[in-house]
């Protein structure tokens, strides 16, 4: 089991990088860009085998940031390629991330319907 402080440090550092990217670059970087950037970079690092060591070291500190979601998609896809070949390349990602994606859509929809924006 990953110790709590490692998750705190890992997650904190990944968020710090995002904050520095937002503050130090002149370009107008929106939260959407950060999300897209993290899922893509996490996926690419994962494909080269560079993200798993981070997950081993900091646990939820690496899986909870959105880069961990990219890692989940890529690892699911690569595993499915081993068992199902080319079909797995298209099915493995959703299979691995099914719970997260479905929760996000269903809980997101329900919350948006039940609550009203403030102000």
């Amino acid at each position: 089991m990953t110790p709590l402080y490692m998750a705190f440090l890992g997650g904190g550092l990944l968020c710090l990088i995002g904050q520095l990217v937002m503050d130090l670059t002149k370009a107008n970087i929106t939260p959407g860009h950060i999300l897209v950037g993290y899922i893509s970079i996490g996926g690419i690092l994962s494909a080269f085998g560079l993200y798993q060591p981070l997950v081993d070291a900091v646990g939820a500190g690496a899986t909870i940031p959105l880069s961990g979601f990219g890692h989940l998609l890529v690892q699911g896809t690569l595993k499915a390629v081993d068992s199902n070949g080319i079909l797995g390349a298209f099915s493995g990602g959703v299979e691995a991330a099914a719970a997260g994606i479905t929760c996000a859509i269903v809980f997101g929809y329900v919350a948006a319907v039940l609550f009203n924006p403030k102000g």
């Binding site: 968020c15 999300l35 979601f69 690569l78 499915a80 719970a99 809980f107 997101g108």
Partner: protein
């Protein structure tokens, strides 16, 4: 003479303003960084507590990861709905965007604003205004990685 003095004054003010602009953002960057680090770290630390609990209860690592993602998404959707998450986000910046809770926040926050356009093509469509691009690029990377592996192994 008087006009000259006024111009000098103006130039001095301008230089002073330039100096202020140079110095001003630095403490903000430090403050933002600390906020992002602390809030991001706390969110991930909380998730780790949940993961460790589920693992000790005998759940597999994969299932525990999925379950905790769902819990975090549920909490973020709820706290976005009651308006707390966006208040936190004003200070925490990337600390509240980068974790998966920020993904859920983006879904709810953008969907809530478009209730006027109806529950199907308002809320139902706007859910994906930020989540859509994120998933597109996530899947694109995954499929490309998968296809490369297919071609390398044949």
């Amino acid at each position: 003479m008087n006009v000259d003095q006024k111009q000098w004054h103006k130039i001095e003010m301008q230089e002073y303003q330039n100096l202020v602009d140079q110095i001003k953002p630095k403490p903000d960057i430090l403050k933002n960084s600390i906020w992002a680090f602390m809030v991001g770290g706390l969110i991930c630390g909380f998730a780790q507590v949940l993961v460790n609990y589920l693992l000790s209860a005998g759940m597999s690592r994969t299932d525990a990861g999925s379950a905790v993602s769902c819990i975090m998404i549920f909490l973020a959707a709820f706290f976005t709905g009651i308006g707390i998450y966006d208040e936190l986000g004003k200070r925490a910046g990337a600390g509240s965007i980068v974790p998966i809770t920020g993904f859920a926040n983006a879904i709810v926050a953008s969907a809530m604003e478009f209730k006027r356009e109806g529950y199907i093509f308002g809320v139902g469509a706007r859910i994906f205004s930020v989540a859509g691009p994120t998933l597109v690029f996530g899947f694109a990377v995954a499929v490309v990685a998968g296809l490369i592996k297919v071609f390398l192994s044949t």
